[in-house]
Structure formats: structure tokens, C-alpha cells
């Protein structure tokens, strides 16, 4: 429509793409239903979605999930708190000298590219089967995207802006507060979002490999007991929790970007 304003069109486009996304998910569920109820796929491999729904209902109503959720979220919060503070601090310190950037940036980038989850057995050996090993692993893995983007954020501040601030008499603190921080903030924030996501992935992942409790532990436990509908219900629950957490963190990032 020619008369429509850009904003109107943008809103309409967003609505249309959301509609397609919802339809895609609905089609998947319908296919799932058909596969189990009409096409005779083994119920042990793929349980009936209706049964899964009632299991999920039972999990939510009974509050059985609370203990595992609390453990997983506590691990996530602790891991992220450690990696965010250490990553931003280390990144800032490295970014203050070109020499240190040349030395440490490739080092961190190299370590970031190897699958650190391979060290999980070592972490379990050091920190035990409890939450400590998950926190340590999650913190290690999420440290790298945070430190790398902090180096990038503080290391690439426009020199002209620094010179301009200095020429007007900015003190070290003023330079940090009014020039370096706002310039680096959006990039650091992106690193924090990436760090948060990989922390969540690695914590749930390591819970499924070696743990005593947590959502990942619960899923594996149900799989071993062949309780497929309940296991699928927990998977759906974890997916929903992960989606909500990512939505929250993306919203926070968008807000932080708007007003540094």
C-alpha cells in the first residue's frame, strides 16, 4: 500500500513474520501428533504430544520442577557473575595497551574456539559432582566472549574523541566515564549476552553428563528410566525457560544500547 507510512509497514511486516513463525511451530506440533497417532512411530522414541502436554501440566501443578530449576538458575547466576566481572575487568586491563592487545587477544580467541566442555571430567575431578563444577565450567566458557568483546569495545574507541576530551582538560576518570565507557558499552553488552547464552548451554549440558541435580540431570534421569513423555515435558520446560531468559537479556541489551 502506497499510502501506508514506513512505520506502519514495519509493524505490519513484523506481525507477518511473527505469524509465519507461529505457523511453523504449529505445523511441527501437528506433524508430531500425526507421526505418533497416525503413522505409528514407536512411542518410546517419540511420545504422543498430548501425553507430553499432560505430563508438563503435572510438573507445573505439582511444583516438582522448583528444586531443579533453583539449582540450575543458581549455577547460571554464579557462573555469569564470575565471568562478567572477571571478563570485563581483564578485558579493560588488556585494552589499555596495544602490546597487551597483541599478546592476549589472539590467545583468548584461540582458547574460545576450542570446545572447553572437553575439560568437564577434569572440572568434576577438581570440584566434585555438585554445582561447583557446573559453575566453574560455565564461568570458564562464558569468560571468553565477554573478555573478547570488552577488549574490542575499549580497544577501538575513536582516538579523535579521546584527543578531543584531553584537549578540553578531561581527567582520567572523566575520560573513562564520558568517553571510553559509552563508546565501549554496546560492544561489551553484546559480549555479555553471548556469554550468558553459552553459560546456560554449558551448564545444562554438563548437568546431563555428570551431576547430582538440576534440570539437565532430571532429563537424563527420566531418559534412563524410559519415562519418555515426562522427559519430553522437561525438555519443553527447559526450552521455555531458555527462551524467556534470552528474551529478558535481549531486552536489557536493547535498552542498554539506547541510552548508555
Amino acid at each position: 500500500m502506497k499510502a501506508a507510512t514506513d512505520q506502519h509497514q514495519g509493524g505490519r511486516q513484523a506481525l507477518a513474520s511473527h505469524a509465519v513463525q507461529v505457523c511453523f511451530l504449529l505445523v511441527l506440533i501437528v506433524l508430531w501428533f500425526l507421526a505418533t497417532n497416525r503413522w505409528g512411530v514407536n512411542r518410546l522414541l517419540l511420545p504422543d504430544p498430548v501425553a507430553v502436554f499432560w505430563e508438563l501440566w503435572d510438573i507445573l501443578k505439582s511444583g516438582e520442577f522448583v528444586g531443579d530449576l533453583r539449582i540450575t538458575l543458581t549455577e547460571l547466576a554464579a557462573a555469569f557473575a564470575i565471568s562478567a566481572t572477571s571478563g570485563v575487568t581483564a578485558g579493560y586491563l588488556v585494552s589499555r595497551s596495544q602490546y597487551r592487545i597483541r599478546v592476549f587477544e589472539p590467545l583468548f580467541a584461540g582458547i574460545y574456539s576450542i570446545p572447553i566442555i572437553l575439560f568437564l571430567p577434569l572440572y568434576v575431578l577438581f570440584f566434585g559432582l555438585g554445582p561447583a563444577s557446573k559453575i566453574a565450567l560455565g564461568a570458564t566458557i562464558s569468560f571468553f566472549p565477554i573478555v573478547l568483546s570488552t577488549i574490542a569495545g575499549f580497544g577501538t574507541v575513536d582516538k579523535l574523541l579521546v584527543t578531543a576530551a584531553r584537549s578540553m582538560g578531561a581527567s582520567d576518570y572523566q575520560l573513562f566515564r564520558h568517553v571510553l565507557l559509552p563508546a565501549a558499552f554496546p560492544v561489551v553488552l553484546t559480549g555479555m549476552r553471548m556469554g550468558f547464552t553459552v553459560a546456560l548451554l554449558s551448564i545444562i549440558g554438563s548437568e546431563t553428563i555428570a551431576s547430582l541435580a538440576g534440570l539437565g540431570h532430571r532429563i537424563v534421569h527420566l531418559a534412563e528410566a524410559m519415562e519418555m513423555p515426562r522427559m519430553f515435558a522437561y525438555i519443553a520446560f527447559v526450552v521455555a525457560i531458555a527462551a524467556i531468559l534470552n528474551l529478558i537479556i535481549s531486552r536489557l541489551e536493547a535498552r542498554g544500547r539506547r541510552r548508555p
Binding site: L161, T163, A165, R166, S167, M168, G169, H178, P182
Partner: protein
């Protein structure tokens, strides 16, 4: 313009990097110059001749390898934000702050008490004609308006000296013409001392009380030309015979130096 010296440059040389290193560049050689209170002095020369380097040395952003600079009788050994304000080539505004916040921040850095800042910011924005755009971000403004904002930030600092490093360099011809005229009016009203680096012969002729012509790198001042025409200068000065004569003279002085610089950068010996 008076005969009182605002900036005394005495035997200043500057080299980037240590002697013997691969990136050792002698940018400026044994340059001496007095800039008088209230005059607008243009520095013109081939690229790389060290005119921006000299400006940065005057402002205390660079330490000269040899020689001294005195501003109002005091030796420069670091930024002197109470005496000197800079206007840079472009985009030296903080993009995350509005125009008003940019002006305000400059005064915060300089140490102006909070109570005086707002009034001074509005006055500076009014002078450059940007009062209605105070709440815009730099990204929302045209190049010419951004340079007006940068000028407002420098004016709000109320320094006696303005150092301008190709402030209109990235702007189109018409915009720089208008900004040049406005600057001439401003100069007539405020009696500021201005050192102005430019590539444009026309801009130098239109704005300057004196033009210092630099030689090719390592640059030094080859000749100083006085332009005896009161500020504010009228647009019809540009079409006068006097203007053309001075401009042609500058062209002649500069031409050989630019040729020599081109030869240097293309790798052959001059």
C-alpha cells in the same frame, strides 16, 4: 589584531618515532613564528608538511622534539584547556550525546561550575545558529551542522585562542563558504586569536589576516603573506581583484611544494 604576541613558536621541530626506526618521520623542522592576539593565521601547505603537527604542539597534545612554544608567556608542556580550544577535522563530537550535552561536557571537562554551564551552552549554540537543534544527536545532523556544533563547543569554553584543524575540510564548497563567512563575522565580534589549518587557497585568502605557507616535508614556514582586509569580510571580497591576486600568489608559492611532495610520495627523488 594587535602587536601583542599570543603564541610564540621558537625553533620547533618534530619527528615521529625514534631516529633509525623504520617509521621515523621528520614532520616539522626548525619552525619559528609569532601569532598575534586577535589575528586569524592560516597554516597552508602540502599534505604531510607538519601543519597539523604544529597545531597539536601549540595545543600541548604533542611535545616537540626540539624547541619551545609559549602561550600568553607561559611555556606549553601539556593541554591548556583554559587558554586553548580545538576544533578538529570532523566527527569529534561524542555521538552518544546530544548537541547540548556535547557542549555541556566540554565545559565539565574544562572545569566550569555547573551553575554557569547551561547559560553558556545556550549562548554558544545561539552564536552558531543551532539553538533549535540542541536536543539532536550528531548522527541526525548534516556535516555542516556538526561542525557548527563543534564550533559551539569550542566557543563555550571561552578561551582566547582557537586552534582549528581543517574544520571545514570534509564539507562541500557551498557549506564551507557560508561557515567561512560566519567565522569572519564571529572573529570581528569576539577578538579571538585563531590558528587555522586548511588545504583551500580560497578559504585561507578569505579568512586569514596572515597566511603562513609551509614547504614540503619536513615542513617549515617558507613565507608569510599579510592580507590587509578588515573583518567581517563581505562576500564580494571573493570577486575582488585583490582576492584573486593574493590567491594566485599563494598558488604560486604552494605549487612547487605540492609537486615536490607528490614526487616524494611516489617514491622518486625530488
Amino acid at each position: 589584531m594587535t602587536s601583542e604576541v599570543a603564541i610564540r613558536i621558537d625553533g620547533v621541530s618534530h619527528a615521529f618515532g625514534e631516529e633509525g626506526e623504520a617509521h621515523h618521520v621528520r614532520a616539522l623542522r626548525d619552525t619559528s613564528l609569532d601569532i598575534f592576539r586577535g589575528e586569524l593565521l592560516c597554516l597552508i601547505g602540502p599534505s604531510g608538511c607538519g601543519k597539523s603537527t604544529l597545531l597539536n604542539i601549540i595545543g600541548g597534545l604533542l611535545a616537540p622534539t626540539t624547541g619551545t612554544v609559549h602561550v600568553s608567556g607561559k611555556r606549553v608542556d601539556g593541554p591548556t584547556p583554559r587558554e586553548i580550544a580545538f576544533v578538529f577535522q570532523e566527527n569529534a563530537l561524542f555521538p552518544w550525546n546530544t548537541v547540548f550535552e556535547n557542549v555541556d561536557l566540554g565545559m565539565l571537562f574544562q572545569g566550569v561550575p555547573r551553575a554557569q554551564r547551561a547559560a553558556r551552552a545556550w549562548r554558544a549554540l545561539e552564536t552558531v545558529g543551532l539553538k533549535d537543534f540542541a536536543q539532536h544527536y550528531p548522527g541526525q545532523l548534516s556535516g555542516g551542522m556538526r561542525q557548527r556544533a563543534a564550533l559551539a563547543r569550542a566557543l563555550s569554553l571561552e578561551t582566547e585562542i582557537l586552534l582549528m584543524d581543517e574544520p571545514f575540510g570534509a564539507l562541500d564548497e557551498q557549506t564551507r563558504m557560508i561557515l567561512g563567512e560566519d567565522l569572519s563575522v564571529l572573529l570581528a565580534n569576539t577578538n579571538k586569536t585563531i590558528a587555522f589549518v586548511t588545504h583551500s587557497l580560497g578559504e585561507a585568502t578569505f579568512l586569514a589576516d596572515r597566511v603562513a605557507v609551509f614547504s614540503a616535508r619536513p615542513g617549515t614556514i617558507k613565507e608569510i603573506i599579510t592580507i590587509d582586509e578588515p573583518h567581517p569580510r563581505k562576500p564580494d571580497f571573493v570577486t575582488s581583484e585583490k582576492f584573486t591576486k593574493i590567491r594566485n600568489r599563494l598558488y604560486g608559492l604552494l605549487h612547487d611544494e605540492v609537486r615536490q611532495t607528490m614526487a616524494q610520495t611516489m617514491g622518486s627523488t625530488p
